[in-house]
Amino acid sequence: MLKAREKVIERDLVIVGGGPAGMTAAVAARENGVGDILILERDQYLGGILNQCIHTGFGLKYFKEILTGPEYAARFIEKVENIPEVEVSLRSFVVDLKSDKTLTFLRPGVLKKVKAKALIMATGCRERTREMVHISGTRPAGVFPAGLAQKLINIEGLIPGREVVIVGSGDIGLIMARRFTLEGAKVKGIVEIEASSRGLVRNIVQCVEDFDIPLYFRHKIAKIYGKNRVEGLEVVKVDEKFNEIEGLKFRITCDTVLISVGLIPENELIEMAGLEMDKKTNTPVSKELNKTSIPGIFVCGNALKVYDIVDSVSHDSLIAGRMAAEYLKGLK
């Protein structure tokens, strides 16, 4: 039975996040001699965002193979599960982090305090939502961050809508254009404010051109319509300064709007702990690779920098794992 004043447990290395970044860091740390590793993952499974990325394109650099997200994750889950020195705690949610590397986490039925000798933060990103980019108009149901739509379709088997417009031509938006089309919905357009797409060429070809989806560059959403559910959008052409151009507005009827306008690293915990932060990117200030302003606290993966492909995340996290191992050796 848990008591509120249970003793604080000390662990050599705690990794917050059991996605590709956290798992790779755990493997690397073990390979470099760390003998006690705790991974805290908030979801019911390891794998992080890869679990819902059922498309291919992962692993070309790291494994020299073309894998889907879950397959890439499976490789690391296998490695992690075969390392007895790694403890994985699922459904575990870190609620507090102090600068002395004491964490508090919750799990159903459990509240635990852990003091980490070394800490790797692999907390990934959240999506920029409609609320953060002011889009005029009403607030009906049917507006989704692209990643949420992906989760609804790929994990829950729920189809968000039948006529879709995607805001933002980043990779997540492009991937979802294809996913919706394959699931029988009509993607009526992708609206991109810049003059070109930020996504990979492969995705433009296989997600947009393959299905003849209109891609409106230098356009933005002027307004969302619909009282309780999206009924349509007003789209307008913009100039290089992103100002609306008079007379170049048109309407698209749709019942679903996907917002794919960028990712924000999830670093509220380290901010809470008082680490030096770059306010613009919401990432920790780092003098050297994965180190932060507090010795012994490292950040890796998307929480450190928004990467385009997961292979880069693994590469980055290997370094973090090694750095943590070196730090622990130095403490002895």
């Binding site: 889950i77 599960e81 020195e85």
Partner: protein, 126 residues
């Protein structure tokens, strides 16, 4: 003579390739920086293929849906038909990554395989 242009996706460079066609045959391919591009361009013009990634329903298992893929590309023109077929599948037993759900899917020689591992041990303590 007809000119078709496409972007090669074999690697991140993304060469802009031009294919000159005569009587529906490709006679000249330019713009590629390596031989993979030529191969890709020919394939795209004659018989475009794509790997299909989607999910199938699962019953009585920890996941509602199981992600799957074709283990080699299938004709692009048959993707929608493929999606219709996939919707009829229901898995009723746990599988490993790589297990075949449907061999020789749609007669294309590609197998439909599972891409998510069922057998994760979950939380374990030291």
């Amino acid at each position: 003579m007809i000119k078709k242009s496409l972007i090669c996706i074999e690697c991140p460079v993304g060469c802009h390739i031009t294919v000159c066609m005569e009587k529906n045959r490709a006679v000249k391919i330019t713009g590629n920086k390596c031989p993979k591009g030529e191969k890709y361009a020919l394939s795209e013009i004659q018989n475009p293929v794509r790997v299909l990634t989607t999910s199938v329903l699962a019953e009585g298992m920890p996941f509602k849906l199981v992600p799957v893929k074709t283990d080699s590309p299938i004709p692009k023109a048959r993707l929608i038909e493929a999606m219709r077929e996939v919707k009829k599948i229901k898995l009723d037993r746990p599988m490993h990554v790589g297990d075949v759900v449907v061999p020789n899917f749609l007669g294309t020689n590609a197998n439909l395989v599972v891409t998510r591992e069922f057998f994760q041990r979950g939380t374990h303590t030291k």
